[in-house]
């Protein structure tokens, strides 16, 4: 029903290509999150699907219908904007009713739907108020109500939580997740916050420089990043990306000379091929000097209570992040020894793509 398909979608601003050929299929009732650094084109892509930006090449289908050249209001989509975009001179009621009235619905029907939606979101008492008289969280809920009341095929969220404080953000996040379950609708959610992406998404689309770097479930994107970019972008603190050389016979020579054994299958590469080893900070553990695979001086120790993030300088230009227990009392300047748990590690080939595990 509410499936969205993008085929060869491209977009130019002047001569600059900001969306460089996107092919993507979003299933009906799926919650997909577009994530990426600022300027990666995620918002532009969302606005193209909504019809707020032109599509220069390619096609967009919603619910089996080619909507590439259709006006935004006829696409069966609704959007929640970053700054809510509530009409400041209208009450919450009128804000929610505006789209229904434009669609030519009768007054009684409009009233019924607005009140039903407000009841569902528990914002009935906000209906006679104007946006100015509401808190950020209340505005957010009204904005969501305005989207829901139109009963669209596809919901779109353009960084809707970025203006809320931390506590409210967590609450709204769970509310959106609940809405997704209750409404059984397709949702596309744009954010630069990877925690939001991980917690909300059925599937994550990682964008960079107008291209898709990877599409996958949160688990896939976290544990099997398609390339170095995704590996570095998803996860906080970021994955350690260590320069290494892969020798035939599965020995991995790390940048500072240590050799470790690599047991997982790798495709054929020339001997001594330069590769990158990716190890999550929680897969690096402190150990004694005898078993050390790397040693370094602590340059920064962040004591977060239940855990400690240690930054080690291993050699010139190579530093390591270690996620250790909250009881570790290391200080800046201490020399520590660590070992890698390679079971969950990734190996990236010379071109930056993941070569193991495949």
């Amino acid at each position: 029903m509410g499936a969205v398909t993008l085929t060869g979608v491209r977009k130019l601003f002047g001569t600059m290509e900001v969306i460089k050929g996107i092919d993507l299929a979003i299933a009906d009732r799926e919650l997909v999150v577009f994530v990426g650094p600022s300027g990666c084109g995620k918002s532009t892509l969302l606005r193209m699907i909504a019809g707020l930006e032109d599509v220069d090449y390619g096609a967009i289908e919603i619910a089996g219908r080619d909507v590439t050249e259709l006006a935004p209001a006829l696409r069966g989509v609704a959007m929640v904007f970053q700054n809510y975009a509530l009409y400041p001179h209208m009450t919450a009621y009128d804000n929610m009713a505006y789209g229904l009235r434009r669609a030519g619905l009768a007054g009684a029907e409009v009233d019924k739907r607005v009140r039903a939606t407000a009841a569902m979101l528990q914002i009935t008492e906000l209906l006679p108020r104007r946006p100015k008289a509401m808190s950020g969280g209340q505005r957010q809920r009204v904005a969501i109500g305005r989207a829901i009341v139109r009963n669209p095929e596809v919901f779109m969220f353009d960084e809707p939580l970025s203006n809320l404080d931390a506590a409210l953000r967590v609450e709204m996040r769970s509310q959106i997740a609940r809405l997704h379950r209750e409404l059984q609708a397709t949702m596309i959610f744009v954010t630069h916050d990877q925690v939001e992406a991980m917690t909300l998404a059925d599937r994550i689309v990682v964008l960079n420089g107008g291209r898709i770097e990877q599409v996958g479930t949160p688990r896939e994107v976290y544990h099997r990043p398609a390339n170095i970019f995704v590996a570095g972008f998803i996860g906080s603190p970021a994955m350690n990306l260590l320069p290494a050389n892969l020798h035939r016979g599965a020995a991995l020579e790390l940048g500072w000379g240590t050799r470790v054994t690599w047991t997982a299958a790798v495709p054929a590469l020339p001997d001594n091929a330069p590769v990158t080893l990716g190890v999550r900070p929680e897969r690096v553990s402190l150990c004694d000097a005898a078993r050390a695979q790397a040693s370094g001086e602590v340059t920064l120790a962040e004591h977060l209570g239940d855990e400690t993030i240690l930054h080690l300088k291993v050699s010139d230009g190579v530093s390591l992040t270690v996620k250790a227990g909250g009881d570790v009392a290391a200080l800046v300047g201490d020399r520590l020894h660590v070992a890698f748990d390679l079971a969950g590690a990734c190996l990236f080939g010379p071109d930056g793509r993941r070569i193991a595990p495949d």
């Binding site: 209001a73 904007f81 970053q82 975009a85 009409y87 400041p88 434009r102 305005r146």
Partner: protein, 288 residues
């Protein structure tokens, strides 16, 4: 035994007080200088002609001649009331025309994306900086061919199509309307005209009032256009009427002053009532 010293609130240093007094003395002196013409205009309007040029100078009219003001409304060679109404009509029409036409164009420049927008806006800035006289003569000749010299058409009609300065000023306000608002309306199925009328204009209501006020003041004080296009005393707006009277009856200073007084006062009153809006308009148009 041990007396706790009472903690006294610190008082401002005496230097501060002197500084503040000096500041106000300077400002009040400046203020007096700036108000002097207003004062002189007012008392001269209430003097005998002879007293105006009396030596030594008289700083207060003696006797106060309220009759001067009454005379102003009874003279054939200075149909003050008629000209006052002309000014009201002229300024009001231009203000309405400006608000209508410029809010359309300023919206197109400030909120919509279309091919050629930057070029047309650049031309608008050029028009804004262009001395009036450079384009004045052909336009005058055209109006004269149309037989409309002597009417208010040449003075009002151009504003129905827009004015570079007021478009520039209004655009500054339209730029402040978030694009998301228009996008939301597009998703809600509003037509482009409806977005302008129902969504965006309500956000800039204050700006429209500000632009209307500036248009009124500008038109009230406008002199060159009326001088060229209007010949009949009965048709003239106040500032031209005052000029005509002054240049023909140069000796009747008290009437001239009374005329000046009543020409300036409506704008002063308008300003005093809407001061906050004026200031907002100025600070917005002055930013790049």
């Amino acid at each position: 035994m041990t007396a706790v010293p009472a903690i006294e609130r610190r008082r401002p240093a005496p230097g501060k007080l002197w500084q503040s007094l000096l500041y106000h003395a300077v400002m009040l002196t400046f203020a007096a200088i700036f108000l002097l013409p207003f004062y002189w205009m007012t008392i001269s309007a209430l003097k005998f002609n002879a007293e105006i040029f009396a030596n030594p100078v008289s700083w207060w009219p003696d006797p106060v001649r309220w009759e001067n003001l009454a005379q102003l409304f009874m003279r054939d060679d200075f149909p003050f009331l008629r000209q006052f109404m002309n000014s009201v009509f002229y300024a009001g029409s231009v203000a309405i025309a400006v608000v209508l036409s410029c809010s359309l164009a300023a919206y197109a420049f400030g909120c919509l994306r279309w091919r050629g927008r930057n070029l047309v806006f650049a031309l608008t800035i050029c028009a804004l900086l262009m001395p009036t006289i450079v384009t004045f003569l052909p336009v005058y000749l055209a109006w004269s061919r149309l037989g409309l010299v002597g009417s208010y058409w040449p003075l009002i009609f151009p504003f129905l199509l827009g004015d570079a300065f007021f478009i520039f000023m209004l655009r500054q306000f339209f730029l402040g309307v978030p694009r998301e608002l228009m996008d939301a309306a597009r998703l809600d199925g509003a037509s482009e005209f409806r977005i302008w009328w129902q969504i965006v204009l309500p956000q800039v209501r204050t700006a429209l009032v500000i632009v209307g006020l500036f248009a009124i003041v500008y038109t009230w004080n406008e002199f060159f256009g009326p001088l060229i296009y209007l010949q009949n005393r009965e048709d003239m707006p106040l500032s031209l009427g005052l000029f005509t009277f002054q240049s023909q009856r140069a000796t009747e200073w008290s009437i001239s002053m009374a005329g000046s007084f009543f020409t300036a006062m409506p704008m002063v009153l308008l300003f005093l009532l809407t001061q906050r809006l004026f200031q907002q308009g100025l600070t917005t148009s002055g930013l790049k």
